[in-house]
């Protein structure tokens, strides 16, 4: 713990000595990481505990936006903007339209509180424990050098994507196509059943 702290201080001193005064030093980035992590945790708890379902969607925007900021602080620039464009821009819009499709009322609804709370907590704790075990076991020796910011750029992503991962990339387009056609077929089937279809 103390050795790690000392190493971090040395690294920070090394980095801040390089380029004169700036707005945010790498140590500042670590502090900001923890603070934003707390915001993400709090808003994620609000997503599942709020009794107003539209508010849950809006708290989800805060959660995902905070995660984007965390990615930025980990110098994963490309993923951070993917997070903003896809998750905040598109998925939350999809979620809101999905809510508006249902007959969910505006305002508080008591039936959002599930009686299966304790089994849900158990499942959540189990899933967290599994993920923690896997992630810690896989990456316990990995080290992210915050002084090197190129790893998360679009160029590095593009190089590995088009040099190594071309087939998964093309398969992804087929997956998106299947999802699009599936959504069209399902929605048209429902519209026809209602007698409103064309």
């Amino acid at each position: 713990m103390t050795a790690g702290l000392a190493a971090a201080t040395v690294a920070a001193a090394d980095l801040s000595g390089r380029g004169g005064p700036g707005f945010l030093s790498p140590t500042g980035a670590e502090v900001a990481f923890v603070l934003i992590g707390l915001v993400v945790l709090g808003s994620a708890l609000l997503v599942v505990t709020t009794s107003q379902i539209v508010h849950a969607a809006l708290w989800l925007v805060v959660t995902l936006g905070g995660l984007a900021a965390e990615y930025l602080l980990l110098t994963a620039e490309f993923i951070a903007w993917v997070q903003v464009l896809i998750y905040i821009g598109a998925v939350v819009v999809l979620l809101l339209f999905g809510l508006m499709l249902t007959r969910a009322p505006i305002g508080r609804s008591t039936e959002l509180d599930s009686l299966k709370r304790w089994p849900a907590v158990l499942v959540a704790v189990g899933a967290t424990a599994t993920l923690l075990t896997v992630v810690v076991d896989a990456f316990h020796s990995a080290y992210l050098d915050l002084g090197k910011t190129d790893d998360g750029s679009a160029r590095v992503t593009g190089e590995s994507l088009f040099r190594v991962w071309v087939l998964p990339f093309e398969v992804l387009s087929v997956l998106l196509l299947a999802a699009l056609i599936g959504a069209i077929v399902l929605s048209r089937g429902r519209a026809d059943a209602d007698g409103k279809g064309r």
Partner: protein, 125 residues
């Protein structure tokens, strides 16, 4: 980009966000402190073009909007892959193959768009 330049640049973005949020909070707080507070039922009614509102604020939307949002998700995912592609496809070692790969990717999605168009999803009725 150096780490220093990277973090300063994004710290500036964060600073702009903070100043923007602070501006809105101060404006609303000052408004709350300075304005007279005399509500009545008529004033608290939802404003709807000058006539009294009818029904509730909640209306069930047609599934058509969901399909539009879904099309948006799919083409947002499509567009996001253009960025890493655009930074590398002119580099040595990529070239025509990479260009063709992207056109195959876009081609598959274009088939989906063609399907949506042929099924009349894109026409507004």
């Amino acid at each position: 980009m150096t780490a220093h330049g990277y973090f300063s640049t994004y710290a500036l973005v964060g600073l702009v966000l903070l100043v923007g949020g602070g501006f809105v909070s101060v404006a609303f707080a000052a408004n709350r402190l300075l304005r007279p507070h005399a509500p009545n039922v008529e004033k608290l009614m939802t404003y709807e073009c000058g006539v009294d509102p009818v029904g509730e604020g909640w209306a069930q939307t047609h599934i058509r909007y969901y399909i539009y949002a879904y099309l948006y998700v799919i083409f947002a995912v499509d567009a996001i892959f253009l960025f890493p592609w655009a930074t590398v496809f002119a580099d040595p070692g990529f070239g025509t193959t990479t260009l063709v790969e992207m056109f195959v990717f876009v081609g598959f999605l274009a088939v989906g768009l063609l399907y949506a168009w042929r099924k009349g999803v894109l026409t507004w009725t």
